[in-house]
Amino acid sequence: TTPDSTKISKEQLKRLHSRILDEISSQSQVDKPGPLTVPF
């Protein structure tokens, strides 16, 4: 049996996974300063 001290719960794992992905998602956002094309 694996000692409890080496385990992390499924909920902790799920939460950590979510936090990582949420942080990556928010930090991947790129601000667009305005239209990237102009008519001519």
Binding site: R19, S25, Q27, D31, K32, T37, V38
Partner: protein
């Protein structure tokens, strides 16, 4: 008919350079080294941004830096072209097909000496977006970054040269 808004494109590319700082796992990356908009036709640079803000303008170092970018852009464009036309066997771990607003494109990752490169065609256009980062910047994260950037480039979907 439209043309690129040079200033806004430049600022957009500068905005893509920002690093990651994940507090949840204490993981940080460096900034991208360069973010480049190049032509899919001949690898010419339309616009670029780099993190080397400490290089004096109009200096020899800046000229060398730009020349290096030109060289890397050409190399990546050639490799991209080769991979796009290789219908027989697509590399799997370095090619990510993505769908954005019903447009399809592919993200490729390449190793360039001690750098990580990631490139994708802006959907339906003659333009490629190229990210160059240090080798400590994970490929998986580079792919996520470029995909998000391309989603913001809908203004350039369908952009044709000449």
């Amino acid at each position: 008919m439209v043309m690129l808004h040079s200033k806004n494109v430049k600022v957009f590319l500068e905005n893509t350079l920002k690093p990651y700082d994940l507090h949840s796992v204490d993981f940080k990356t460096s900034s991208l080294q360069s973010s480049i908009l190049l032509t899919a036709t001949n690898g010419g640079i339309m616009s670029f941004a780099t993190s080397n803000s400490d290089v004096p303008k109009n200096s020899i170092n800046e000229i060398n830096s730009v020349n290096n970018l030109k060289m890397m852009s050409l190399l990546v464009k050639d490799k991209w072209s080769e991979d796009e036309n290789n219908t027989v066997e697509q590399p799997t771990n370095s090619c990510y097909p993505v769908e954005i607003e019903s447009f399809k494109t592919k993200i490729y990752t390449y190793e360039m000496e001690d750098l990580h490169a990631c490139v994708a065609q802006i959907p339906n256009s003659d333009l490629l977006l190229l990210f160059i980062a240090e080798s400590t910047f994970p490929y998986g994260l580079l792919v996520i970054k470029i995909e998000r950037a391309i989603r913001e480039l809908s203004d350039l979907f369908g952009y044709r040269l000449g």
